[in-house]
Symmetry: C2
């Protein structure tokens, strides 16, 4: 069986190329072949290198970065994947730039207005998909409807959830609670061919959220970062409090395996990255502060997406769904 | 010294009037005199009762509820405070209805476009104010500027922070990261007479957030509920994991005091409620799922606001600030 080739942007992320290379080496198996995209002479530990002479910084404006830096690692990785030289792309870089490069070189799936960043959140009863978690800061109600359809197909095909439940993230479970965007989106979702269960509140994201939770990219990104920050802050506060007394330190030693298990289940690095759904190719955005572990997990996530044919499943099923549920208004 | 009279809506909150009465009794001291507003015959344990025959439900539309139920406990509590019969109002009810009743009976401070719900978040380096945490689901950039000014006055006067730091909640620290609203608000805040430190991300809300963090009410409410839900989910996951082995159970016993301390510091019931800033009277929204402890803390919060003259300080300092920093565009 031909291994799955994943183009890894070695110049993105806050921790530098050595960490990206280490992550790629960790993910490499008979089945997964990471290809590094970075500067000439990069020590890849034996992995294939595709040379790219430029780097997109985290704070660059996406459109300008893509236009002005056609030979950046991010753009080259997407171009290689778009031309068939790789099956998927992984980057820990600038989300907006990844989206722009993806739109340019992987291109949109027919019928899709806006790609969405879909992140798998580890809830008590298994994974739950949150989207858009940051591809588009502003969204319209029709976009949220598409996100729901894309998330639904993804959950069905990849997370093995028949008839996945979908909820809209808002500030109250009643349909009339929310902002203008969620009120409009609720009405569209309620009429769509989806297993729509109404609004959910952010307090349920880690407990009994739906299979698919839909929101605009600003709200989703705020949620994702707050989840990460709060989980780490609570565990750290507990560690400090416990280690402040001898009795606590002894107890801390005893609960260490249990605490590690919880930390590992909830750690954002465990899921490693988010799928950019809605493109003709597969792109995974790894965490910006990516450790080698997170990069390795993002590469594995990308490979799993290729194996399950995420793009093909979306391509087969999405346009019909979108056209049906929106009465033609959103047809391809 | 005359005690501070706090009108407590006894019919709001998910836990019923007995819990509200218990909270009021817990908060009652020589200094604080809770007055219960509820149905005739309510057992108040000796506290003063103001009779109100109607109840606003959590899912009622605010404007209709206020118009249709002039004799509801929520409206009566606000009317009593507006007429000088109480120094402050506490309700665990429908936020929108509290806002509507507050606007009607307490009225807006001169120069204020929209009141904001300001909640004190317990960060590692002390309290930090998050507003708007849910009074207005939709907001314009000028509203966020006003929220920053109100929060700043509050932090200076009540939290004793000279020249409080202000940040805008967004999805990146760079000024150009965000949605349309935050991009516009960033520009206004940068020009204002505030100690504005730029954008902050939600991941820092519990760690190194600013003295005042500003956002629209939808985002703030999502953050508040996610903080609560995540803190509880992490502690609960840890408790379950720890108690699944004999070794863990022993360790759990040993760390119990340390864990309780963390839980108590982070528990939303500890801060109990949120101030509705921008009205001529003082209103505190208690947590919807209010326990007696949360109600008691909300009453104490209201009393502290009265003692510190929150409303008077805002009234003195707000219109000038707003008019100055917005170049007259937002003058009273």
């Amino acid at each position: 069986m031909t291994p799955i080739r994943v183009a890894v942007d070695a110049m993105a992320g806050d921790r530098g190329s050595a960490e990206a290379v280490a992550g790629a080496l960790e993910a490499a198996t008979d089945r997964i072949e990471p290809i590094l995209v970075g500067p000439d002479g990069l020590d890849t530990g034996g992995l294939e290198l595709i040379v790219a002479s430029q780097v997109v910084a985290m704070d660059e404006k996406p459109a300008e970065a893509i236009r002005g830096k056609p030979d950046s690692s991010l753009v080259v990785a997407c171009r290689v994947a778009g031309a068939g030289g790789a099956d998927a792309v992984v980057s820990a870089g600038n989300t907006g730039a990844l989206l722009a490069a993806g739109l340019l070189h992987l291109r949109r799936l027919p019928g899709v207005f806006r790609p969405a960043l879909a992140v798998v959140v580890p809830t008590e009863r298994g994974p739950s998909l949150l989207l858009d978690s940051g591809a588009n800061a502003d969204a319209r109600a029709e976009h949220l409807l598409q996100f729901a359809h894309m998330g639904s197909v993804f959950a069905e095909e990849i997370l093995d959830r028949p008839r996945p439940s979908v909820r809209l993230l808002s500030i109250g479970e009643e349909p009339e609670k929310g902002n203008r965007l969620t009120l409009e989106a609720h009405a569209l979702l309620a009429e769509a061919e989806l297993n729509f269960g109404g609004n959910t509140e952010s307090r349920h994201l880690l407990s009994r959220a739906a299979d698919v939770v839909v929101c605009d990219g600003f709200t989703g990104n705020v949620c994702l970062k707050l989840l990460e920050g709060t989980i780490m802050a609570v565990l750290e506060a507990l560690r400090e409090s416990v280690s402040s007394t001898p009795r606590g330190r002894l107890g801390g030693l005893l609960i260490r395996p249990a605490a590690r298990k919880v930390r590992s289940r909830l750690d954002p690095e465990t899921y490693g990255g988010a799928y950019l759904l809605g493109l003709r190719g597969l792109a995974v955005k790894a965490h910006g502060n990516s450790s080698r572990r997170a990069i390795a997990n993002a590469i594995r996530l990308a490979a799993r997406g290729v194996e399950h044919g995420v793009v093909e499943r979306l391509q087969e099923r999405l346009p019909a769904r979108v056209a049906t549920s929106a009465g033609g208004r959103l047809g391809p």
